[in-house]
């Protein structure tokens, strides 16, 4: 069990009123057991990613690997051309994150600062766009992309997700900018700054924390998207990491150890990204709450 996060041992602080009682140990035991149960699938995956198919079929999923077998990992890596998939995912998610933030900021500037007429309806419309099932858009998008020669291109997916993520970003940023201190804007206007300058010199620096949260969220959400990339990206040169993994499923190649190896390789980037941006993410989760 390699991935298990064993809870750090409770501190040996001097026992005060708050650290007495046996009840707290029972609670810790129960919650700790539940947390361990959450990690069991990861442990299974690690255990079986390094087995040879022969070892798996004779000894089953519960045995310790007989040898440190990495051919499964290598097969998967080569078979799906993993570096290409990784690059596709990074390119698509990265472009979407940046473009969607720019579009959100421009729209939110008009809605939150400009307070243009009908903005509640417009914000509602954007919010709706974010809630729609993607099935309600997919066929026309698929059809138009084919007509426009964008089918099976990463550009098509980038454009689509820029709009879908920007719909959410506009909603969030417009609410943040709705409470922007007017005195700051008026002071800048008195100094002769135009709207364009005010946006980049006054507004942007003040919402930078929200923007960084949005960048991280857009990146992860786009990385994990499935339906639209599945429909739009059909060949090896354009597919993303999740689509590549799913389209191999049912293939002869996917014996149990290779399944586990593929899953392991595919989730590593996500976990890495999560570890790097954990603070930003938890800030994002609270961002909505303390407004």
């Amino acid at each position: 069990m390699a991935i298990t996060l064993t809870p750090p041992r409770p501190g040996r602080r001097p026992a005060d009123r708050r650290h007495r009682g046996a009840g707290r140990w029972i609670v810790l035991l129960l919650v700790g057991a539940a947390a361990l149960a959450m990690l069991v699938p990861f442990a299974f995956m690690l255990l079986n990613a390094f087995k040879s198919p022969g070892d798996y079929s004779t000894n089953g999923p519960m045995s310790w690997p007989g040898e440190f077998y990495t051919t499964g990992l290598r097969t998967y890596w080569e078979q799906v051309d993993f570096p290409v998939k990784l690059w596709n995912s990074i390119l698509i998610s990265g472009s979407v994150a940046v473009l969607a933030v720019v579009v959100s900021l421009l729209s939110a500037y008009a809605l939150g600062i400009g307070r243009i007429r009908g903005r509640l309806w417009i914000i509602g419309l954007f919010l709706l766009a974010n809630m729609l099932p993607q099935e309600a858009l997919i066929y026309p998008l698929y059809h138009f992309a084919k007509e426009a020669g964008l089918y099976n291109t990463r550009l098509a997916v980038i454009i689509i997700f820029t709009v879908i993520q920007a719909a959410f970003g506009t909603y969030l940023l417009a609410s943040v900018l709705g409470t922007f201190p007017r005195t700051l804007l008026e002071a800048a206007a008195l100094d002769g700054a135009g709207r364009w300058r005010i946006l980049w010199r006054v507004v942007l620096p003040n919402v930078r924390p929200t923007i960084s949260v949005l960048l991280v969220f857009f990146f992860i959400w786009t990385w994990n998207e499935f339906l639209i990339p599945l429909v739009m990206l059909i060949d090896n040169q354009t597919q993303t990491v999740p689509v590549a993994l799913a389209s191999l499923q049912g293939d002869r190649l996917m014996d149990a150890p290779t399944t586990n190896a593929g899953a392991l390789i595919s989730l590593l980037p996500a976990i890495l990204f999560f570890l790097i941006f954990q603070r930003t993410l938890s800030r994002g989760i609270t961002a909505g709450a303390d407004k």
Binding site: L5, P8, P10, G11, G21, R24, V27, L28, A34, A35, L36, M38, L39, P41, M45, G60, P61, V103, S104, L106, S107, A110, R115, I116, I123, M131, L132, P133, Q134, E135, A136, I138, Y139, P140, V163, I164, A166, Y171, A174, S175, G178, R195, F217, I220, W221, N224, E225, F226, V231, P242, L245, A246, Q249, T259, A263, S266, A270, I271, T286, G288
Partner: protein, 321 residues
Amino acid sequence: MASLDRVVAPATTAAKTSAGRRRRSRSDAGYWLYLLPGAVLFLLVIGGPLLYTGYLSLTKWSGVGDPTFIGLDNYRELLTDDVFWTSFKNTVAMIIAMVVLPTLLGLVLAAALFDTIGRRFRPRTAAALRAAFYLPQVLPVVVAGIVWGWILRPDGALNGLLDAVGLGALGHDWLGDPNTALPAVMAVMIWVQLGYPVVVFMAALERVNPELYEAAEIDGAGWFRRFRAITLPQIRPETFVVGLTCTIAAMKVFGPIFALTRGGPENATNVPSYFAYYTFFKRLQVGYGSAISMVLTLIIVVVAVLFIRAQNRAERRDGVL
């Protein structure tokens, strides 16, 4: 879908309170320019396609040639389509697995982590446990589907585990048997979803004044009374947000179904999203698939509006606004 962990800020309330506060004297014409890129892209990628799907739902079309207009025939056919009704019945199961149970369990876990473990042990203990619950949320949901698909296979880890503890007789093709496929998918979805409410509720509890708990404790209130009288009312806004975002995610769920069962066996785990995808791209009935999508869209919009209205009513009753 990834949107399941979307965090929604209460923009409507913020926008509303500032709405009539100040009549702008300067013309706002110049600001329209900034909305232009967003609006054009929106019409191109969302507005236009949605309307087109609405139109296609009134036609018979295989995707090539010209669509034939047939009025409401697709919708009439849906009413008597068993698969369609099964898929919506399964949506209820998904709401139980992705909203009801994770929210209830998440409430208890977050309260236990925050109120007992966070305050009686080191904060790091609570943070490490929270990370364990959140971990499934960060991996692509398809990867989760593939791993669980293997775990639940006849030669997968669950049967191996049962063998190892001497319960091999219970071994089973969990996803292959129509009787166990849906419960198995539900269990996977609980595992995927649980971390989201735990993290949101713990963040919410952090803004509750700790003196409330201390005062209650000195007054002799037990854990359950503190939970009911302080925790629940204090984090109600977050409960609404979690409820709304997870309900929408449950109604749209696609990736896990695709990876785990592709709707089978015998439609036991089919859901509207997968049914629509299958109708579009496998059965090549674009009109019929569009009708399924439009019904799903309509239901989602109605549910979202009901949620937001219920939230506004609750806030007004509490005098928060």
